[in-house]
Symmetry: C4
C-alpha cells in the first residue's frame, strides 16, 4: 500500500471510508449560512409611530444582544467544523449521519435563541439554549473521535498531539455551556455572561492554530 501511494497522488486506498467530502461541507455551509441569516430575520421591524421608534429600538436591545450572541456561538461551531473537516478527508455512512445530527442541532438554534430573547429572565430558556449548544458541541467531538479512530477517515500520519488538541479545544465549548447550566440555578445573568467567555476562548488565537496550520501544510491532504 505504502509503496503505491507514491503513484496515486497522495490519496491512498485505505481500509474504510470514501473520499470526497465536498458535499458534506456544502450541506453544512448551507445550513450554517441559512441559520445565521435567519437569526437576524427574527428581528421584526417595530410597528410603531415614527416618534416612538427610538424608544422602541432601545427596548429591543436585549434582542439585538441575544442575536449577536447566537451569531457568535454559531460562528464558533462553523469554524470548529471547518477546521475539523480540513483533516477529515473521507466519509462513511456513520459519519454522514453524525454530521446530519450535528446539523439538526445547529438548524434548531433559532428556536432556543427565540426563547432566550423572548424570556430574557427565565432559567428554562437558558437551559434549552445551553443544552442545545452543548449537545451540538458533544456531537462535533464524537465526529472527531469517530473520524480519527484508527485514523480511518483522516490522514494516517496525523499527529496524535493534534488529535488530542482538537478534542480539548472542541470539548471546552460544551463544557462551559454545561457549567453555564449549573450556574443558571444560582444566577441567570451570570450564566448569560458565560456566552462571552466562550466567545473569548474561541476568538483569541492559540497554540492549536499553529498545530493545525503545520499539520495541514505538512500532510497537504487536499494538495492539488
Amino acid at each position: 500500500m505504502g509503496f503505491l501511494d507514491i503513484f496515486s497522488s497522495g490519496r491512498a486506498t485505505r481500509p474504510r471510508g470514501i473520499p470526497h467530502n465536498e458535499r458534506i461541507n456544502a450541506l453544512s455551509d448551507g445550513v450554517f449560512a441559512i441559520v445565521i441569516t435567519l437569526l437576524v430575520l427574527e428581528l421584526k421591524v417595530p410597528e410603531v409611530e415614527p416618534s416612538e421608534l427610538t424608544h422602541e429600538l432601545r427596548e429591543m436591545l436585549p434582542k439585538f444582544i441575544g442575536h449577536i450572541a447566537s451569531f457568535l456561538v454559531l460562528g464558533i461551531y462553523w469554524i470548529g467544523h471547518h477546521n475539523m473537516f480540513m483533516h477529515i478527508q473521507r466519509h462513511d455512512r456513520v459519519l454522514l449521519w453524525l454530521n446530519v445530527l450535528f446539523l439538526m442541532l445547529v438548524a434548531s438554534m433559532p428556536f432556543p435563541t427565540g426563547l432566550i430573547v423572548e424570556f430574557t429572565e427565565g432559567q428554562l430558556p437558558l437551559i434549552i439554549f445551553f443544552g442545545t449548544l452543548a449537545a451540538a458541541g458533544v456531537v462535533l467531538d464524537i465526529i472527531w473521535w469517530y473520524a480519527t479512530r484508527n485514523r480511518h477517515l483522516v490522514d494516517e500520519n496525523i499527529d496524535q498531539a493534534l488529535v488530542s488538541f482538537v478534542h480539548r479545544r472542541v470539548l471546552i465549548v460544551p463544557l462551559i455551556y454545561i457549567i453555564g447550566i449549573g450556574v443558571s440555578f444560582a444566577s441567570v445573568l451570570a450564566a448569560q455572561l458565560m456566552v462571552i467567555i466562550v466567545a473569548l476562548v474561541s476568538i483569541v488565537p492559540n497554540p492549536l492554530d499553529r498545530f493545525h496550520s503545520e499539520q495541514v501544510q505538512s500532510t497537504g491532504q487536499e494538495g492539488e
Copy 2:
C-alpha cells in the same frame, strides 16, 4: 477513442452526457440545507406568560417529534442523493429535469410536515406526508435507472451488482411509505411509527456501504 481513453485520466468521451455535475449537486445541497433549516423555523416561540412556558413546551412535544422525523427522512434522501451522485458523473437535459422534479418534492416537505404536526391524529395529512416522500423516493430511483441505462451517465465499468443494490436500497424507502399509507387505514399511530422503521433501515450500516465504498475506490471516477 477507446485507445486514447487511457491517456485522458479516466474521463472518456462517451456517446451521451456532459461531464461536471457540480452545479447539480450545489443546487441540491442548497435546497436540502434550506428545507431542513426551515422545518425547524416553523417552530414558533410560544407567546405565553413565563410561568406557562414549561407547560407550553410540553404541549409542543408532538411538533418537536414531527420535525425531528422530517429531518431524519430528509437526511435519508440527502444521503441517498449524495451516494447516487458519487456514481453519476455526467448529465443531460432529462437528468437535469428529473433532478429538478426530485428537488420540487423535497422542497415541498415543509407543507406536509406542517400538516401532520398540526393535525396529529388525521389520516389525510399522513397520506400526503407519506405520498410526497414516496414520490420523491420513486423519482430518485428513476434518476438511478435513467443514469445507469446503457451506463450512459455513470462509469462504464460500474458493477451490475452495485446498480441493483442501489435500486433495492433506494426503493425500500418509498415502499415502506406506501405500506405506511395502507397501514394508516387501520391505525394512524401504527403508520406514524413506520417512519422510525425507515430511519432504522437507513441509519444502520449495511452491505451496500461496502459495495459503494469499494466501487468508488476501484473506479476512482473523480480521481484528481
Copy 3:
C-alpha cells in the same frame, strides 16, 4: 499567444476577463435553491377544523398549481443559466453585474407568484408575473450576448452555430411570456395556459442538447 496555449493547459490568457466563475455559480445556485424552496413555504398550513381539511386543501388547488408552475419556470431558467455558464469561463465587472441583475429578477419571483396565486383571475398579476420572467429571460440573453461578443468570456473556438442556437433557445422563453401578456388582454385563462407551453418547449430534449454536449466535449474547457 496561440503557440503558448498548448502549454497552459487549455486556459489561455485572453485580452479581457478573469477566470474562475465558481463563486458566480455558487451565488446563483444559492439564490435559485432559496427561491424555489421559499415558493413552497408560502403555502400555509390551513388553520381549520380537521373535518374541514379535505375541503380546504381542495380550495388550495389553484395555489398548488401556481407554485408548481413557478417551480417549473424557475427550473427552466436555472437549467438555462447552468448550460450557459458551462461555456462562459471567465468574467469581468460587467458580467458580474449582469448576473446580479438576473438574480435580482429571479429572487423577486415569490412576489409575482404570490400575486397570481392570490388574485387568480386578475390580469395585472399575470402581467407582472410574465413581465418579471420576460425581463429575467432577456437579461439572461444579454449575458450570453455580452460573454460571446468577440468571444471574450467564452472559448475562442466556440461554434458560431452554438452561439446562435443558445440565443434562439434562451429568447424563445421570454418571447412566449411577452405573447402571454398580449393574450391576457383577450383571456387570462388562455394566458395562464401558456406557462405550460413554455415548460413543454424547455423540458423536451432537442437538437441544442446535442450541440451543447458535443461542444463541451470537444473543447473540454473545464477539463481537469
Copy 4:
C-alpha cells in the same frame, strides 16, 4: 522546504496561513444568496380586493425602491468580497472571525432595510441603514489590510499598486455612507439619493478592473 516549493505546483509553504478558502467562500456566498432573496420576501402580497390592487401596488413603490437599493448595495459588497478573495488564498483564525463579523453585518441587512422601507421619512432608520453598511465596508477593508499585511495570506508577489487600489476602492463605499449620515442631518431625501451615487461608482467599470484582471492572470494563483 524552500527548494521543494518549486515542485509543489505554485503553492508554497508560507510562514502563516492555511490554504483552501473554498468553505469561507461557500459560507459567504450562502449568506449573500439568502439575504438578497429574503429582502424580496419581505414584500408581502397585499391583502386587498382585486379592484384595489393597482392602487395598492402603486402605494408599495417606495418599498420596491428600498428593496432594489438594498439589493444593489449588497451586490456591491458581494462583488467586492468576490474580487478580494480572488487574491486572498490562505486563512487563519483571525481571518475566519473577521469574515464572520462581515457576514454578521451583511446578514443583518434585512432589519435596517425594513426600517427605511417602513419609516421612509425618518432620519434614524437611514442612519442605522448607512451605519450598518459603513461598518460592513470598514470590516471588508480590515480583511484586506489583515490579509495583505506582510503578504501573509495573499500571493507574495502581489503588486503594491493593486493592494492600495483595492483599499481605495473598498473604502470609498463606506466613506460615501458616512457622508450620507452627515447629509441626513440636512436632508433625508438627499441622503437617500446617495445610495444611487454608490451604485454608480461601483457598477461603472474602472481602472481597478484592469489591475485586478492582470494580477490574477500573471500570478495565476488558482491555476489548476
